[in-house]
Amino acid sequence: QYVPPFTEDCQTGMYPPSGPTFKGAVTWYTVDLDLPPSERWKGVITDKQKELASMIQAIKDLADAFVPSGRLIDLVDRDLPLMVDTLPYPFNEEIRGIATASGVPLGEVVLFNIFYEIFTV
């Protein structure tokens, strides 16, 4: 167990979660699908605004590490907003609403939401 891949004996008694492998419970929110798409995520984002900005900043720092000139971020902030209207409704409107509620630039919220496809690169 003390050499990679550190395979342990099968754990038991871990539930209900506690101890060093449990970092915390997860908060519940309601998203009302009857609301206009751009309004739906306001409650969640208002609560998580700081954490979202911090995560986006970490991705930007990473991008700057790869492309120190900052051109990658410029590309995201300038070009990705053009992509929002090509994304299917209501997701494009929900993304716009998240950018407005969080104050994070629209291109960076788009990047966060298409990260799966980007990451396969």
Binding site: C10, L62, F112
Partner: protein, 253 residues
């Protein structure tokens, strides 16, 4: 990621997953952790999506991300997705999209549409198997009847070699990490073998939230990329999620 659907002897289905993300995205030497993984953990939220004041579906999300990676349509089906790596990857899908060829679907918008609109396991399975995608993926789907559980391995255009639950033949669970189930996983990243060893050691008669959480808490199934663990019980309509940590020594992935 590790996703599994297991059926107990009474035909109840449990769907569970570890969401691992942030590989190669900045390593924090001091804390021996991945930078992005640690930034994602505070963003983990459980969401109840309602329409006309009724619950449509529930999910575990990263706040700010409108697509779905983990969700339950109570009493109907449960759905998780794991990342699949393929040379015919997302960059081709994105290139086609930018060039105006937009007949494919963004992966997380498909899972969101399925959870929001499909009203049966069969309908969800058809949508997840047949919809053209921009990037390859694994969809792990659980239903609400005995035998309703499958791993849908997707290329951008096809479903390849679906693997189904078959309790009568002894396959009482299906388990997916990030490798095609008909191939050996990369030896450097074999989380499948330890997870299956622990499932087999648990045995079908003891399957429950408790024992499945134990399996997902065993290293290297639990690793430095694990952000959260979710447990779902379709017949009870229950979803529980927990933010995770992996104390040293622990595999980086």
């Amino acid at each position: 990621c590790t996703s599994l659907v297991a059926e107990d002897p009474d035909g109840n289905l449990i769907h569970a997953r570890n969401l691992d993300f942030g590989l190669f995205m900045g390593w924090d030497l001091k804390n021996r952790s991945w930078v992005i993984t640690e930034k994602l953990k505070p963003l983990v939220v459980n969401i109840e999506f309602t329409r006309n004041n009724h619950t449509v579906f529930k999910s575990t999300n990263f706040a700010g991300y409108v697509g779905m990676l983990t969700g339950i349509r109570p009493h109907m089906f449960t759905l998780t997705m794991n990342e699949r790596f393929s040379l015919d990857g997302g960059y081709i899908g994105i290139l086609e999209w930018i060039l105006g060829k937009r007949d494919g679907m963004w992966m997380s918008f498909l899972t969101r549409s399925v959870l929001e609109n499909a009203t049966s396991y069969a309908e969800a399975k058809k949508l997840l198997s047949d919809t053209k995608l921009l990037a390859p993926a694994y969809f792990i789907l659980g239903g609400n009847q005995t035998g309703e559980g499958c791993i849908i391995t997707r290329s951008r255009t096809h479903s390849i070699n679906p693997l189904e639950l078959d309790p009568k033949k002894g396959r009482w669970y299906v388990l997916e990490t990030n490798y095609d189930h008909w191939k050996e996983p990369l030896f450097l990243d074999d989380r499948r073998t330890p997870a299956m060893k622990c499932m087999n050691q648990t045995t079908q008669t003891s399957i429950s939230f408790k024992t499945v959480y134990d399996v997902l808490s065993t290293k290297p199934v639990l690793n430095k990329l694990t952000t959260y663990t979710t447990l779902m019980d379709v017949s009870k309509g229950k979803l529980e999620s927990f933010i995770r940590d992996c104390p040293n020594p622990c595999m980086p992935w």
